[in-house]
Symmetry: C2
Subunit: 337 residues, 2 copies
DNA sequence: CCTGGCACTCTGTGCCTACGAGTGCCAAGT
DNA sequence: ACTTGGCACTCGTAGGCACAGAGTGCCAGG
């Protein structure tokens, strides 16, 4: 049904349309690619491709453009991730290596990705739920108030103010700090909930009220407050692709943390680059955009995800190459620090 | 030269143009406002206003639109900040009061401001240089590495990894922590530089190398790293005002921290609302936008600034009212916490 | 100083035509 | 069975033109 030449035609249509942003006709195809057939033959092939729902023509007597399904087939079977040259990879690595703390790593990553792909880049902070506690700190702030600082092995610092039901003295704070550190240190954040549940036994009865307040804030911070932090860069790149009137909706969607989480979160395989095309993103308002994403991490396991958002008319091979390369080197940097 | 009626005409032109986005003609003016004169009279007035550079016509035989100078005069002499109703103020207050830490306060503030004004909102984090040290914490991370955590009285937490030249033991870290806290606690960040300069005398000689590394990072963090953090929200509101092709440049400018700093930073008076119109912002690419900004703080002194960015064609009285109200209540929340 | 009248200058719109790109289909060739 | 050339058909785009409408500037009169 779809022989090799028809697939080649589809590939050519996608490539031409991506680079010119104009519907591509049969004559232009045979000229620009060295297909050894006549335009009429191509037209027949095109008719079949259109019947399959892989391409459409915007209006009668215009060239064809790929549909979401067409892009999907292109990505799955007709294209390969474009690898980066060694020079490019070295540039990426040195740029990221200049970062001096976690915030800076994430910031540099998202900007780099936006610049490389000329799309909107989104990067999720290394996830709380997959990292481990490295240190817990309690800082007396004022009467009946403590600042709780949680430091993870990914260098992330979480802070919350705790309001205590009763007064405290320095000794009790020190004791509590010691208990927390000895019990939580090195444990995965996912296990913290069950550990904290058993902690009250290890605290003197008269201090339990205050301790309980601290414990509940820890749980809130780590468990209930699932909103992972996500940063965005390169929104101005959206103006290049003419979204006619959808631009507003795209910008609005990109400001919603929840939407970004869903965009990144739905992919199953964490180590490879996944592509969601057009309506495959069931986010309203992003029906005409594609998402290229992957997981990244400091070791073998993925800590979080990053990716790009752009028009469905996108240079997928290059975008996938950039996402993969950036994810790899960001993970490397995180592992080293 | 500019009598009362001419000023009233200017005011009417600004108001009409802001609400309709169409050049306003003499006939429409007398209809919509109750000026007891004929259109011809208005035309004469308009000619004078145009001669003064306060209004222009986009093309011959079109209505007039205000120039930057026209808006300037309007803001300075023809309009009053529009106060918010008590209901609105209560809504603002309760919305902000729900925040549970500094990040959340800032996040809520910027979103609120964007929503109230339907413009792009920018909020600067409470400035380091005007707050005081509340606590310094040193956390052993790995061999020859410490995590330095600085906590300010505005609830802001700064973190940096310190690479030490030599090994350390727990005791030396504890001593250093004690010294730092006793010397820096409660001092303004602006004074920290001079205090730190004298600190080496209070450290044992064999620990000076490590201590010096920590001191230099403190200085870097507080002094050299001037990039104050700024958050932006409501970029999608830019699509409502049609910037024709300048949209890309505006979006690009809004992603540059440095540009945002300049936008907010140039106003002298910190307690009142300042307005920069069009080319008064000497930032390239923001020539057709206006900035309405003010300082906000937890007490009598301003800690940082916040404001909005929008097209010069903006409802200034309402925008100024919103900026003032939000600044006031955000400051109040910060003072309470 | 205000007002009504008048001529003038634009822009925007609708309509028509011509043109060109591109297709679909068919009959003929390999 | 597939490919090819030819041909008619469809539509979107661009240019030309006339026309209406909005708005102005100016002038003479109140």
């Amino acid at each position: 049904m779809l022989d090799d030449r028809k697939l080649a035609v589809l590939r050519a249509i996608v490539e031409d349309f991506v680079s010119t942003n104009e519907p591509v006709g049969s004559k232009a195809l045979v000229d620009r690619h060295n297909l050894d057939v006549s335009p009429a033959t191509i037209r027949n092939d095109m008719a079949v491709l259109e019947e399959q729902g892989l391409i459409v023509q915007p209006h009668t007597s215009a060239g064809r453009i790929p549909t979401d399904r067409g892009y999907r087939l292109f990505v799955d079977r007709l294209s390969a991730v474009k690898p980066f040259s060694t020079a490019e990879r070295r540039a990426i690595e040195t740029f990221l290596a200049g970062a001096y703390d976690l915030d800076d790593v994430v910031m540099r990553t998202v900007r780099l990705l936006a610049q490389l792909t000329r799309q909107v880049a989104i990067v999720q902070y290394p996830s709380l739920s997959r990292s481990a506690v490295r240190h817990v700190e309690l800082v007396p702030l004022a009467n009946r108030k403590l600042l709780l600082v949680l430091i993870t092995n990914t260098g992330r610092v979480e802070q919350r103010v705790v309001e205590l039901p009763g007064d405290y003295d320095d000794q009790s704070v020190t004791r509590l700090r010691t208990v927390l550190n000895s019990c939580l240190d090195g444990h995965k954040l996912t296990d913290v909930a069950s550990i904290v549940a058993e902690l009250p036994d290890r605290v003197e009865p008269r201090e339990r009220a205050n301790a309980a307040a601290v414990f509940s804030v820890i749980l809130e911070t780590l468990v209930e407050r699932h909103e992972e932090k996500i940063v965005v860069a390169g929104a101005s790149n959206l103006t290049a692709a003419d979204f006619s009137q959808g631009l507003r909706e795209v910008l609005e969607a990109l400001e919603e943390q929840v939407v970004l989480m869903r965009l990144l979160g739905e992919s199953d395989d964490e180590s490879s680059v996944t592509v969601k095309i057009g309506a495959e993103n069931d986010v309203l308002g992003l029906r005409s955009t594609s998402v290229v994403a992957t997981g990244y991490g400091s070791g073998d396991r993925a800590l979080a995800k990053l990716g790009i958002v752009g028009p469905t008319r996108m240079d997928y091979p290059t975008a996938m190459g950039a996402v993969r390369a950036v994810a790899r080197y960001t993970g490397k940097i995180l592992a080293e620090s």
